[in-house]
């Protein structure tokens, strides 16, 4: 049972997703177009400022408020949910957490209002999980400027008209990683055209390249050499957010099926009359429900200031499984219509797979869980 204020937030976002997102998002998805108008309204509602204090134009809420919001958005559509998740959790949060007062004042008010989107560049074409060993992007201090060279891959929110700043993880020495803030439009920083993706088609994902890209030394985020520790912390939290988003997709599949199986008839009955369908939907509800409990528990530990690495990994693993399994079952229940892009379940099916990959693959989650059980040193 959610506390009052979270429940009111949930209801508000549910109404927004139903009334504003649902009627138009299928068309944006089909056209692979970024939904600026929806993002603007999400900004006006304060969704991009949820976990930040009011002094930075935030809503004075917490990370759990963000998670509840992501779940409700993803019940209807994952593209808008991941746009919010990446902007807050990967774009703005590191600046809030590790930035200087000046960096916070420069960027946070616009990021928290959703007028500007932030992004974070970690993954590279030749290295995802393999950090820092696989990282090739470098930043060298030349006088009072960083000179950045390298390429970043699969970066969410990197190339929209309102993208303002990208945090770039780069080698600043021998096995030394630091994060440097690069404003959009900096000479030497180029954004490629959008990827053609299997899913999340109304979100913006790009490859970024840096060629002799110069930014002031003051754009270093936090301490030099702390980049690895920073994004490990960022990713631990982000896992809970992706878990919430996955639960939303899993629940959205249940919602769609409950409507469909009352209307669709076969052999003289609505198909929901048949046990084969009922059991499938019961299993889907179980997955969504248990995954929700897992992410609520991880968020609770995090907000209480307790270690939550294992719980976050478990939540991410079970909820991305739930999303994938429910999307497959929902598509099966819809039959041929499930394979059509105009039905939400087809979109859910395409959007589910990335949840087992992004923000740490399922294999990484298992690795983290095993380590937390003390098996890392054997």
């Amino acid at each position: 049972m959610l506390k009052d204020e979270y429940e009111e937030l949930r209801k508000t976002v549910e109404a927004f997703a139903r009334d504003v997102v649902a009627p138009v998002i299928g068309d944006y998805y089909e056209r692979e177009e970024f939904p600026y108008d929806i993002v603007r309204q999400m900004g006006a509602m304060g969704l991009f400022g949820l976990p930040f204090p009011e002094e930075y134009a935030g809503m004075g809420g917490d990370y759990f408020a963000l998670c509840v919001t992501l779940e409700e958005l993803a019940r209807v559509d994952s593209s808008v949910a991941i746009t919010l998740e990446a902007a807050v959790s990967l774009g703005a949060m590191p600046i809030f957490r590790f930035g200087t007062e000046e960096q916070r004042e420069t960027w946070l008010p616009r990021l928290a209002a959703g007028e500007m989107l932030g992004a974070f560049g970690l993954t590279e074409p030749g290295g995802g999980t393999d950090v820092p060993g696989g990282m090739r992007t470098t930043a060298v201090l030349d006088g009072d400027e960083w000179v950045i060279n390298g390429t970043k891959a699969f970066i969410t929110n990197a190339g929209t008209d309102i993208t303002g700043v990208v945090g770039v993880a780069a080698l600043t020495g021998e096995r030394e990683i630091s994060t440097i803030l690069v404003p959009s439009g900096t000479p030497g920083f180029t954004v490629s055209k959008k990827y053609s993706k299997v899913g999340w088609n109304a979100s913006d994902t790009r490859e970024l390249s840096f060629t002799e890209c110069r930014v002031p030394a003051a754009n270093l985020l936090g301490e030099r050499g702390r980049g690895y520790a920073q994004f490990l912390q960022t990713l631990d939290e982000g896992r809970i957010a992706i878990a919430a988003l996955s639960v939303g997709l899993a629940q959205g599949c249940v919602d769609e099926c409950l409507k469909y199986v009352r209307d669709r008839k076969a052999f003289g009955h609505p198909i929901g009359h048949y046990q084969a369908i009922q059991f499938k939907i019961a299993d889907m509800e179980v997955r969504a429900h248990t995954a929700r409990l897992a992410y609520h528990h991880a968020a609770e530990k995090m907000l209480a200031g307790e270690p939550f690495k294992k719980e976050a990994a478990i939540a991410k693993l079970v909820s991305s499984n739930a999303a994938m399994d429910n999307a497959r079952d929902a598509t099966q229940i819809f039959g041929g219509y499930g394979f059509m892009n105009e039905f939400p379940v087809g979109r859910f099916y395409r959007d589910a797979k990335i949840l087992e990959i992004g923000e740490g693959t399922s294999e990484v989650q298992r690795m983290l869980i095993a380590r937390q059980l003390g098996l890392g040193d054997l």
């Binding site: 937030l9 304060g46 004075g60």
Partner: protein, 259 residues
């Protein structure tokens, strides 16, 4: 400007609504209570007027204890405080006695401008704004899709079948709004949190000098004598066009005396 916006909790139109079998009044427990949709436009308009002209927005609702949810939503949108008129004696009040009770409460609270939705999605009488204005002895500006205030003068556009009327009055006044007037904001989390700390005053009928013999089911001028569920819609007739579709359509229209 002291603006009072009247909101009503109604059963969610998306769910099945029922009447109670014991006294033929609305079964408020059978469906989720939500803010009457048109009242959200009223709240939005009140907030916009406050943003433009300063002052304070007070929410007034009449309804059972459960109606506090509706008050909370209006406060989360940005209203400053709320007055909840709640008394078992008010149960079953019809439009006439509701307007009396609300007018008494408004006189106690004080106002320059009263804003409300043009009708509720449950009773749909659409008469409360006019009745309130009469009871309060102030101007009535109903069915507005635009409101302008300049000092103590107020102008609205009233939508009509042929276009719109411009109606002017001097404050104090009662305005009812239609859904074309604005786009109600969604409450922010900050608004939701702030709403918890905003004052909500509960009035019993005695507190607003409401005469108990003038309100409630017994005092209602209208009575629901009986009710029945609407019959399920009969299946339509499907006519296959086998080259004679036009003739069959004409035949159907003729049988209904349309042509």
């Amino acid at each position: 400007m002291n603006i009072v916006v009247c909101v009503k909790q109604v059963p969610d139109t998306a769910t099945e609504r029922k009447l109670r079998s014991d006294d033929n009044t609305l079964d408020r427990d059978a469906a989720d209570g939500v803010v009457n949709e048109l009242d959200e436009y009223a709240v939005e308009e009140a907030l916009k007027l406050k943003e433009a002209h300063g002052g304070e927005v007070t929410v007034l609702t009449m309804g059972p204890g459960k109606a506090t949810e509706t008050i909370r939503k209006a406060l989360a949108m940005g209203a400053d405080k709320a007055v909840h008129l709640s008394d078992d004696a008010l149960h079953g009040s019809d439009a006439l006695s509701t307007s009396y009770a609300m007018a008494q409460a408004l006189n106690k609270v004080g106002f320059d401008l009263v804003v409300l939705g043009s009708e509720s999605t449950d009773a749909r009488t659409g008469v409360l704004a006019a009745m309130l204005a009469e009871r309060l002895g102030v101007a009535q500006l109903t069915l507005a899709n635009k409101v302008d205030v300049d000092g103590t003068s107020i102008t609205i556009q009233r939508i009509t079948d042929y276009g719109y009327d411009r109606v002017e009055a001097t404050l104090p006044a009662v305005v009812s709004v239609v859904e074309k007037i604005n786009e109600p904001r969604y409450p922010s989390f900050k608004g939701i949190m702030a709403a918890k700390k905003k004052p909500v005053e509960t009035l019993a009928i005695g507190d607003a000098s409401i005469d108990p013999s003038q309100v409630g089911l017994a005092a209602a001028w209208s009575e629901v004598v009986d009710f029945a569920a609407a019959p399920p819609r009969a299946a339509g007739t499907i006519v296959k066009d086998e080259g004679d579709g036009g003739a069959k359509a004409a035949e159907f229209l003729a049988s209904k005396k349309f042509i």
